[in-house]
Symmetry: C2
Subunit: 384 residues, 2 copies
């Protein structure tokens, strides 16, 4: 999932995201809560309609963002008081109002409000944090069950409305595409059976494998249509990340989406897909693009380097995106060195294309029954 923090994947129009084959975007509840505000988005028919995006959206709960504020927050049993990074104003997120916010935004998939445990942390701290996340998960689900029909598009089943096919669409983009294609002729008579969002639970437990197992089992007891692994990529070594993912995923049901939050490089997403992860999100392809770091089939390219100033070749000879089809490394290097806005735009389009191609290759490999294992070799060769 490309990250569209403020209802925009930075620099890339929605029609280009569609052309790239993006099936689902991530939006950040914390940022959208501050700007333009939940009530505003809700009044405008929800996030899909607001940003003109008919495909799927997932919103995070705001928990991770709020926990990133460090000194600007205070956690209690009830929730988290925090200060806006924009103007210092004071706000409060609880499981209930994080759900209210995400219902107001109206994404297809929303996330339980959790505490992202800091790293490193001792065992008692990790257990206490995990227990808090479990209580918040139950409160998130309870609030959601009572209010799931408040979603802005709930009663809006016209041809302009984003189409909901419920959980079935969420596990596979193809089904969603089909639903989207069918929307023009949709009538009330054929309205979807499901018309609520899907609330996913989040497994915590720090780097402690026993606590991860306990968190997984007790989150499953609460019961969600999909499960995320949170609290990783918070500074731990990559070998530890992998170990925790392996130890957690075996306790998550294989017939429900398994979502690894905030990961990672192209090699990592292939590696985790190989372990059974169905979904990931990461700012890396878009943020790296803005800093001139580009992912290619020949390895990383830091486009700012002088060696590219006279390079007439495409950024990635194996890539068929609109950037590699048209522009040279020399031109991309010039745009970056000259601080041209188009550098951000083109670099982001290419990196997203590379990530989406990677996931298409993974899906193709799975569909052939080979498993994505062989891709790991491809990517390990591609490492700089």
């Amino acid at each position: 999932m490309p990250v569209g923090t403020l209802a925009s994947v930075k620099g890339v129009p929605q029609e280009v995201l569609e052309e790239l084959g993006v099936q689902i975007l991530l939006g950040n509840t914390y940022h959208l809560y501050l700007r333009p505000g939940i009530e505003q988005v809700k009044k405008l028919g929800g996030l899909h309609r607001f940003m003109s995006w008919r495909r799927a959206i997932l919103t995070d709960s705001g928990g991770f963002q709020v926990f990133s504020l460090n000194d600007l927050r205070k956690v209690t049993e009830e929730g988290v008081t925090f200060r806006s990074h924009l103007d210092g104003s004071s706000h409060f997120f609880s499981p209930e109002n994080a759900m209210r916010a995400q219902i107001g935004l109206g994404a297809d998939i929303i996330m339980a409000f959790d505490e992202c445990t800091e790293y490193p942390a001792d065992r008692e701290r990790v257990r206490a944090s995990m227990e808090l996340t479990l209580r918040w998960a139950a409160r998130s689900k309870s609030y959601f069950e009572d209010h799931k029909n408040d979603v802005p598009w709930h009663d809006h089943v016209g041809p302009d409305a984003p189409v909901r096919e419920g959980e079935r669409q969420l596990a596979g983009g193809a089904a969603h595409e089909a639903a989207e294609l069918g929307s023009a002729g949709r009538t009330r008579a054929s309205a979807p059976t499901y018309s609520t969002q899907a609330l996913f639970g989040i497994v915590q437990g720090g780097m402690d494998l026993a606590l991860r197992r306990e968190s997984a089992e007790r989150t499953i007891e609460i019961g969600f249509p999909g499960y995320a692994i949170g609290g990783l990529s918070v500074g731990e070594p990559r070998a530890v990340t992998r170990e925790v993912v392996e130890a957690t995923i075996e306790h998550l049901p294989a017939d429900k989406p398994r979502y690894l939050m905030g990961v990672g490089t192209p090699e990592e997403i292939v590696e985790y897909a190989n372990l059974g992860i169905d979904m990931t999100d990461c700012v890396l392809p878009t943020r790296a693009a803005r800093h001139g770091l580009l992912f290619t089939s020949e390895g990383r390219v830091s486009i700012k380097q002088a060696q590219y100033a006279g390079d007439e070749g495409p950024l990635d000879p194996a890539c068929r995106c609109r950037v590699c089809s048209r522009y040279s490394r020399a031109y991309l290097r010039h745009l970056y060195a000259s601080n041209e806005v188009l550098a951000q735009v083109l670099n982001t389009v290419h990196n997203l294309s590379f990530y989406l191609d990677t996931m298409r290759a993974v899906r193709h490999s799975i569909s052939l029954g080979k498993g994505p294992g062989f891709l790991s070799e491809v990517w390990s060769r591609a490492k700089p």
Copy 2:
């Protein structure tokens, strides 16, 4: 002509410019001379190939840009010594090396090196400046005639090369489009008769109508395939601009392109087209877009205003550009208020679309034999 200072119309990929119907872009020699450098562009086959733009390009001479540096320049008979706005390094532009630079860039239309007279200036100063521009025009032409075959694409008549149809293509985009469409099957046997750039002269003379007439007549004596009116939009009242344009254009041949440099608003370009101006360039549509000022058929929209936060309507209901077809004023306002890069991209696409639609309406009106006069009424009603 949209302005693509550094080989990019800020934020807009070339394929979108093509979709908008842009027939010709302006590049700034001064900026390209500093970054990426003339030799670099020349080695890469010229500006068209470097930026992957097969349609027409005009480069200015660098004169206006250098004169904008104020304290950083020194003018002599020989040329102008100036300091880079980037690193303070010292450089020298003369008619000869401004031609050398523009031949190296390889635009379809290049401009004589002139002195843009400051405003206000007394009559003696204006005359002296005009005389200098005339001597520089003769030197520009002389250097160009001796070196016009040094253009990077001169001997390159493969299917990848931008096609040159010489002066015939320059006066009309349709002819150029036809030339472009015909390029795939082109062979050496059918290589164009003309394969040089077109060097335009520039009329100066400040706000003095007699000097403008003299400058026009003596520039025509030197002889160019097109003539520009320079030295306007330098701080003088709009009524004076109009008076000077009217007094100058009557002395320019109607069968050659007449180019008014650095003008203006949509109303102004219609007004000047009505007087006989064939070409204009201005940073206004692109720069205003980046500051949230949008041109619409209903007048100016300052998209940052809070009144648009809940406005679900399109930016301009009469516009069919990809922005107005898809996004709401509320979304555009949010992007701008949140400082999202996409705001620059979408706002620029719309403003360019509005300008190009305006010029299409002007051409249509001319083709109907009505003259563009009635459009002035349309735009005067549209003024805020």
